[in-house]
Amino acid sequence: MNSDRDDLIGALSAGLQPVKPAPRIDRIALLWFAGSALYVIAVTQLLGPIRSNALAQLAGEPRFLLETLSGVLAIAVTSLVVFRAGIPGALTRRFAAFGAVLMLVWLSNYIVGLVSPALDPSMLGKRPHCVWETFIYALPPLAVGFVLVRRLYPLQPVQTAMCIGLVAGMMPALYMQIACMYGAGHILLLHILPGLLVALVGAATAWICRPRQGET
């Protein structure tokens, strides 16, 4: 065998430190999802009133409830995708595609809503700074998710960080449809779009923090 390789193996093996057993990745993903969701709900409630009739609409309008639940499911599954991407070989293409399809199905509700909305569009409950709120509230979950996934070994760090940003951004974007006014155009432009921008922030952060060539 190549002597350079022997030397490398010797160097890697010498003074080998024990490592903690591999984390249960799905559990971590769901804890991050639940913690982030609770944080988003809490901070949104604390910093402004939610739409007064939102809960009644959830109970009385099945399509609105379905739209909201499809968002929750899409975000939860994409959280699993993101954390599984941190473990080599743990994320299957099929599961990643499943998450992507759920996300597209949820977001397509708002495109359909431009023509046929789940609720009658109304200015009731409009929050004046919802666009900034969505963006800023997403940053702490992004930071926590980014740190957690970086402690693993994502093979595609930039794409993985972009997905963390997407999930983190979509959480406040989804809750804003309860906390803010309902209108498909408003949701797409002032809730979903800033949420998508958080995905770019995640990708940019990973790009900046990527290991340079030659670093080990």
Binding site: M1, N2, D4, R5, D6, L8, I9, G10, L12, S13, A14, G15, L16, Q17, P18, V19, K20, P21, A22, I25, G86, I87, P88, G89, A90, R93, L152, Y153, L155, Q156, Q213, T216
Partner: protein, 203 residues
């Protein structure tokens, strides 16, 4: 040849003895990695030694016998070392390891630059027999791996000249009588195609 047929070929050629070896290797490597996670140097050294041979064979059979393969094997060993805390003993070892191998192999190929050393290494043989190196080397399927071989001739030429022979974009473009832009597009697409083939490949 498509990815499915490549995968099919590898599974068809697996004899009963090979399956048994595969299973026993799988179990032994998983046990060695668990031991390595506890800090046992000797087990870790044995594991890296064994898998490095397998990785070398894997890369040579897919990409051919080239100088960059050894660098790639060493990069993969470092990556396995860095990722060892993510191995879960409840999962199989090979999918974990080969996810790293595939990723690093493509990264390594993408990063191959038309650097001076590589150029110097190959300049002599190119000068000695330009015609032979234009056609003979590129068409010698014995030297190429089967994934490189699975590329279309245009992509194969582009990737062999730039990433394996180490020619600059300008030199490779001149040799192929195409523009530098067209060559860059071919190389980019060839790497994308190789990435898909590697991901679909069964080790």
């Amino acid at each position: 040849m498509n990815a499915a047929s490549l995968a099919g070929r590898s599974s068809q050629t697996m004899t009963a003895a090979a399956v048994e070896d595969y299973t026993s290797d799988e179990r032994r490597w998983a046990a060695l990695m668990v031991s390595a996670q506890s800090g046992h140097e000797a087990d870790y050294c044995l594991l890296l030694t064994e898998v490095s041979k397998v990785i070398h064979q894997y890369l040579c059979s897919r990409f051919g016998h080239h100088d960059f393969i050894e660098d790639c094997v060493q990069e993969i060993l470092v990556a396995i070392h860095q990722a060892r805390h993510t191995y879960d003993s409840h999962r199989r070892f090979r999918p974990w390891m080969f996810a790293i191998v595939r990723n690093k192999a493509i990264d390594s190929l993408r990063r191959q630059r038309s650097h001076h050393n590589a150029l110097e290494r190959h300049r002599e043989e190119l000068m000695l027999d330009t015609e032979h190196s234009n056609s003979g080397h590129l068409e010698n399927t014995e030297l190429r791996g089967r994934l490189i071989d699975a590329l279309s001739p245009q992509y194969r030429e582009a990737i062999t000249l730039t990433k394996i022979n180490g020619l600059s974009t300008a030199e490779a473009a001149a040799q192929l009588s195409i523009s530098e832009g067209a060559l860059k597009v071919r190389v980019h697409r060839a790497i994308g195609r190789l990435k898909r083939l590697v991901q679909a490949d069964t080790p």
